[in-house]
């Protein structure tokens, strides 16, 4: 029930409130006038002086970018000083005429002019703008002789980024390049634009991008007196810039180099991790590229070559290539079976060389089968039939749950790129995944037959090399899992203080120790009496491993013959390993695209990496790839 209001009373109340508001307005304006009296009468002299002094312009001074070193202090990215030829527009008079005249003394390309025009649009009048970078000593001398002809043109020393090892570890380090519209948006969204005044380069990929705001440093400035036309007269005060923080990596540059050489001209990836911390020891993606090409603006020809090359050198296969794991999946399947109570180690099956499910026959690689196979033998000889049966017994969602706990099919969160969106997730198949992935209802249903080939790492399975390496490291570390990371510590250049990146265990999977030991023993067996024997012959340490071969395309029952298959369609070779087996110091995953059998192409690379890392042994007479000599190893 509404009450009847009294119009007169309402009007009175309104007028009262209006009066209240009027008083408020007067008070507020009173405060404002008080402020004006303070500024314009009481503080007038102070501001008067400030205004007279205020012929001061702030010119930003760009800080030194932080240096990146490997775990042993080897420099991977640093700055060097080089001479640039710069024009201060407000002092140079007619710009086009000046540049034309300069071109008679110093070589000036059309691209230099183009860049100058672009920078001119963005800059203030009193800033100097480079027309040529990286002058040679001869050019500096030549210009000095003609200097009197060019007011407002001078040679300045500027810092340039350099990657001394060239293409080595380029996919981990990344590179810097000129700030584009997109980078600017990123900087603005991070509210860093004030600190980027005067900065013209920014990290574009890899560590350079991930740690951009650490590496950049704090911009300093110089107060310069200017005249009414904006021309600089003299320097008054200088707040020096603070250099960016240095990055000390977990990466071992020598190991990285040996590994990249071991790949030769083959495409692929290797990620090696210290299982006790998650620190990445080597992160290889081949082919690589030379990051130095980007620093001063990459030429269109170089850009085209890198981007249109069929081997895609710009793709970081370690975090962006998703591959079926093939038989390297089997040790994880076996562990899942033990943990979920689906198998005991001694439970054996009889392998006739195939497995029938419905109307379909799933074949083992070995004709006639492996006979009686227990868990140990299933890993050592890579028996497919054992895992066809196991997959069927476990069901897709149990497999998916266990593999998901190992980080497969998820971003690892490695410290590369702007945020983790630069990393691929891969595919961890499950009923739910299929429902999300496909649109048509008949495609959304998971068929039990699809589970069978999941068991041997085929089917929808697709993981990045870094995920496989992380899973292998977790296995080596008995289920305690770390986030893979490249930076060991940051060095604060202001205080010299080291800020370590603490290795934080993501989770402890709490596996039963006796179960993990079964897998450890089986993977050691692989390199002693199984598919990895040849690659690890004579190794003075005990290494655990597993070979794998991933089908690139379906053979539809035909016999796979490496030599008769086109190279792009040849199988991918894989190998996972860790060593020493009783106290692992390194865990790794290798992938060689179209490399054929894992035991032949991938395992020898792993051997070289382990030999160097554990023994300091440089590869000398590395085992040759001779497919004919390793017929026994084809059981994958």
């Amino acid at each position: 029930m509404g009450h009847f209001t009294n119009p007169e009373a309402d009007l009175d109340r309104f007028r009262f409130r209006l009066g209240f508001a009027a008083i408020f307005v007067l008070l507020a304006f009173g405060v404002l006038l008080g402020r004006f009296v303070w500024l314009q009468v009481i503080q007038h002299d102070f501001y008067q002086t400030r205004a007279e002094d205020n012929r001061i312009a702030l010119i930003p001074i760009v800080p030194n970018r932080g240096v990146i070193t490997d775990r042993n202090g080897v420099v991977l990215a640093h700055n060097y000083s080089a001479f640039t030829l710069e024009i201060t527009p407000s002092q140079a008079g007619q710009l086009d005429a000046t540049i034309d005249a300069l071109a008679e003394v110093i070589d000036i390309q059309p691209k230099d002019r183009k860049r100058f025009k672009r920078l001119l649009d963005e800059a203030k009048n009193f800033e100097s703008i480079p027309i040529r970078t990286r002058l040679s000593d001869a050019e500096v001398a030549k210009f000095a002789a003609h200097r009197y002809r060019f007011p407002g043109v001078e040679v300045k020393a500027r810092l340039f980024r350099q990657y001394p090892l060239g293409s080595i570890a380029s996919h981990a380090i990344g590179y810097i390049g000129r700030i584009t519209e997109r980078d600017l948006k990123w900087i603005e969204e991070s509210e860093k634009q004030a600190n980027y005044k005067g900065t013209d380069h920014v990290g574009k990929t890899g560590l350079e991008q991930h740690y951009e705001f650490e590496l950049h440093g704090e911009t300093g400035y110089e107060e310069v007196e200017i005249d009414a036309g904006g021309r600089a007269l003299r320097s008054l005060k200088r707040i020096p810039p603070v250099s960016g923080n240095n990055l000390a990596l977990t990466l071992d540059a020598k190991l990285q180099q040996i590994t990249e050489q071991a790949f030769g001209d083959r495409k692929g990836s290797l990620v090696a991790i210290d299982p006790k911390t998650g620190g990445i020891l080597a992160l290889v993606s081949t082919p690589t590229y030379d990051p130095n090409l980007f620093v001063d603006g990459i030429t269109p020809d170089n850009w085209k070559e890198l981007n249109e090359h069929p081997d895609k050198p710009m793709v970081n296969r370690a975090i962006n290539g998703a591959y079926p794991p093939g038989s390297t999946f089997k040790p994880f399947m076996a562990l899942a079976a033990l943990e979920m109570g689906k198998r005991t180690p001694n439970q054996a099956i009889s392998d006739p060389g195939y497995y029938n499910f419905g109307n379909h026959q799933f074949r083992d690689d070995k004709k006639g089968g492996h006979g009686m196979v227990d868990m140990y033998k299933s890993v050592v000889h890579s028996c497919d039939t054992y895992y066809y049966m196991l997959a069927n017994d476990m069901g897709i969602d149990n497999i998916s749950k266990f593999m998901g706990s190992l980080g497969l099919g998820q971003r690892t969160g490695v410290d590369l790129g702007k945020d983790d969106s630069g990393e691929s997730k891969g595919v961890l198949p499950s009923q739910e995944w299929k429902k999300q992935r496909f649109k048509k209802p008949e495609q959304q249903k998971w068929y039990a037959g699809e589970t069978i080939s999941i068991g041997i790492g085929q089917g929808y399975n697709a993981y990045t090399p870094i995920q496989l390496a992380q899973a292998t490291a977790t296995l080596a570390n008995n289920g305690v899992m770390f986030r893979p990371h490249l930076v060991q510590h940051l060095v604060d250049t202001k205080t010299g203080e080291k800020r370590p990146v603490e290795p934080k265990p993501i989770r402890d999977l709490q596996w039963k120790r006796s179960n993990v030991d079964v897998i450890h023993r089986a993977m050691v067996g692989v390199n002693k009496e199984g598919t990895g024997t040849r690659a690890f012959a004579g190794a003075p340490y005990e290494a655990a491993g597993k070979t794998g071969t991933a089908q690139v395309f379906s053979l539809k029952g035909a016999q796979y013959k490496e030599h008769s298959t086109k190279k792009e369609l040849r199988d991918h070779a894989l190998f996972i390993a860790y060593a020493p087996a009783d106290n692992p110091k390194i865990a790794l995953a290798v992938l060689v695209e179209n490399g054929g059998f894992g035991a032949v192409s991938a395992a020898p690379i792993a051997r070289m990496v382990l030999d160097y890392y554990l023994l300091g042994k440089l590869p000398g007479g590395a085992a040759k790839d001779d497919p004919a000599a390793v017929e026994e190893d084809h059981e994958e």
Binding site: F14, A22, L32, F36, Q43, Q48
Partner: protein
């Protein structure tokens, strides 16, 4: 014989029948000051005085049309305009153009619009209509619904993010609710709640938002960033002194030290050249404008017209106070133009929509009483 003189006189009277002259002349005076200041601010570069005069002309035509609409007609616009503005705000949220990290604009192909501007007028119109409708049965429930009508556009604009405009729109709505008789107890409660929420809000703020507030307290901590604006505009005002440096003689202005000097920071230009004396005159003109608005509100015959007139008037006060407070360094830097002074067409039209409504309320008063 045709009485030409008589016809002319009658048409003239017809033409000016709904103009409130006190309001009109006060506004003209402020605009005159504004035009001269825009001229000084753009003297060295873009010469915007004529273009600003054009903006004023268009805005006054809008005012003329609106002043002829009786308040009952204005009421009819309340819901459609409010709903239209909400739809546009949602459209901004979904497909707006991002400029400098904020989504405020909607592209129409040939031009782009900023729907939050429309809300500045639609909000008080809508709430005044709402209270008029439930005038006889006003209960606490209605205040809550009014608060919701206020909160939805406020949140949409704050999300863009454009906290400055959101606060202006929010305050316009709040004034209506206040004048409609929101109990003092509730107001006191809101103030206490706001006071106690401040430390919590501070904790929830991003680093850069905290930094912006700290910059206000000590602008020298961020001399390359937003502190620069405040430092330079306070120097301009302070160095102006009692009588100013004289028209076109401001060194801060003409040596390009004042940013956005023909738009948001135009007050620094004016204050540098006209000094404290000029500031007193300008504040006095704004006080006259607000006083006239309050007289109109006080004499308005219906609840709707009272609330609308009161809210529009306090709106003018809010813009003027926030802008001058920000430029003189006692309020944080938010994007609020100085009414009738800052360069810009859209803002001018919106302001004159308000003036037109005040005139309509004033000049249709007698007709209602009869």
């Amino acid at each position: 014989m045709i009485d030409i003189a008589g016809t002319l006189r009658r048409s003239w009277q017809q033409l000016i029948a709904h103009i409130d002259f006190p309001l009109f002349f006060i506004t003209l005076a402020i605009m005159g000051v504004g035009l001269a200041t825009v001229n000084s601010a753009t003297w060295d570069s873009s010469h915007r005085m004529l273009s600003q005069a054009g903006n004023m002309g268009i805005a006054m035509v809008v005012m003329w049309f609106v002043s002829r609409l009786p308040p009952q007609k204005l009421m009819n616009f309340a819901i459609p305009l409010y709903v239209f503005a909400i739809i546009l705000l949602v459209a901004v949220f979904l497909f707006g153009i991002k400029v400098n990290g904020a989504k405020r604009w909607l592209s129409l192909g040939f031009t782009r619009i900023q729907p939050s501007e429309i809300m500045k007028i639609a909000m008080p119109l809508m709430l005044a209509w709402y209270f008029q409708k439930y005038e006889a049965t006003l209960k606490l429930k209605h205040y809550l619904i009014a608060a919701l009508l206020l909160f939805i556009p406020f949140a949409l604009i704050a999300k863009q993010p454009d906290l400055g405009t959101a606060l202006l729109v929010g305050s316009a709505g709040f004034y209506v609710i206040f004048f409609a008789g929101l109990p003092w107890k509730v107001i006191a409660g809101l103030l206490v709640a706001a006071g106690s929420a401040a430390p919590i809000l501070w904790g929830m703020m991003h680093d850069y938002q905290q930094k912006r507030i700290l910059t206000l307290i000590d602008p020298t901590t961020d001399p390359l960033g937003s502190g620069y604006h405040i430092i330079q505009s306070t120097i301009a005002i302070g160095s102006g002194g009692t009588f100013g440096k004289g028209y076109l003689n401001g060194t801060q202005t003409h040596l390009e030290f004042i940013p956005e000097k023909h738009t948001d920071f135009i007050f620094a230009v004016y204050s540098e050249e006209w000094g404290l004396l000029g500031n007193v005159v300008l504040v006095f003109l704004y006080t006259l404008l607000i006083g006239r608005g309050m007289m109109i509100a006080s004499g308005a015959p219906t609840l709707f017209s009272r609330l609308l007139a009161g809210a529009i008037t306090l709106g003018f006060f809010t813009y003027a106070f926030i802008n001058m407070g920000m430029v003189s360094g006692i309020l944080p830097v938010v994007g609020v133009p100085l009414p009738f002074m800052s360069y810009g067409g859209t803002a001018m039209v919106i302001l004159f929509l308000g003036i037109g409504m005040l005139m309509s309320i004033q000049t249709h008063r007698m007709l209602v009483k009869k």
